[in-house]
Symmetry: C3
Subunit: 138 residues, 3 copies
């Protein structure tokens, strides 16, 4: 079995931000030398998601409004978690969008449909954040 493990740090200047991590994951799959296997990509923060969807800015804007409707940030006082914090909404938005994705590796490449694109979605940023890529296979 071959494995590759990589933590990737990113600057996340805004509170909420969608960041493409597609090419980084693609490169790590190549670097791993794994021909058949899987790659796990997950947020290492509990206010963030890794998800696969369209690389289209209009949709990303729509996600922002939609998630704010499902789990509004304000008023902060509506959440019991927000005694010392103001990020309870971020813990909810992350559950809707998911913590992780698992993607097949076939013949040495990410095995994806034509529009599948891998993103990190931070809901409580303004600081450095990280995600984990774990590849196993042979």
């Amino acid at each position: 079995m071959k494995t590759l493990t990589k933590e990737i740090w990113m600057d996340v200047p805004r509170r909420r931000q969608i960041i493409s991590i597609h090419h980084e994951v693609e490169q790590l799959v190549t670097e791993s030398g794994v021909h058949e296997g899987i790659v796990l990509v997950n947020a290492m923060h509990i206010t963030a998601s890794v998800f696969i969807n369209d690389n289209e800015s209009g949709l990303h804007h729509d996600y922002e409004l939609w998630l704010e409707k499902l789990a509004p940030e304000k008023p902060h006082s509506q959440y019991r978690h927000n005694g010392y914090e103001d990020n309870a909404d971020a813990h909810m938005k992350r559950q809707v969008m998911g913590r992780e994705v698992v993607v097949a590796i076939t013949e040495g490449k990410l095995h994806l449909g034509p529009w599948e694109h891998i993103f990190y979605y931070e809901f409580d940023g303004k600081r450095r954040k990280r995600l984990l890529v774990k590849i196993i296979g042979e």
Copy 2:
């Protein structure tokens, strides 16, 4: 390590449709010869989900109404993604239901609870669609 990779194409005549893929996945696990491992089953489209829940038509009807309440299809103009498209809601519904499932394989079979059943859920059909089954183990 043994692996099996299979894309499965399906006709999806309706815009939104739940399709059982349970027996296909079961057969592929048998075919793979993997005794201990995992199977990844994922939609290859970004407007669709693979999920595990009850094989009960009343619940599937309830999902339809519930998802339409959480992320209404119409009016199409409410979403910025819908400049040339009309499927922004499908990209949202898919996030609620999830892109993929990972299921254990134990003693050569899917290791599931008694009511767990694997489905594909399309939110923007009316054409042929596909999903991916990737099995790894030994």
Copy 3:
């Protein structure tokens, strides 16, 4: 390849209940002897979730109110699934929170961010329930 498979049964006295399973999963990873690999942790019931988030009781209270707003339990008659049952809402809440998590194992340990904690979330309890831990790696 090494594998470990373990079903864990729990008493779940309340209808809805969040139960930490973090230490059990941690111990099984140690017991497995796997140094590099992944662990799949999933509910074996279709009215329950396994998820990773904060070990903070205020947030758990917020989840309860939030999920009840997204998919209210009552009136039971609003769901077609509730002919003989009263748990349609539980099948929806579980989809928001997810069925499973997949976590990396690195150098023999769960590879998690500092606040990531693994929970089982039951939405239709009052009886014994179980989850599955499947470890693969080497």
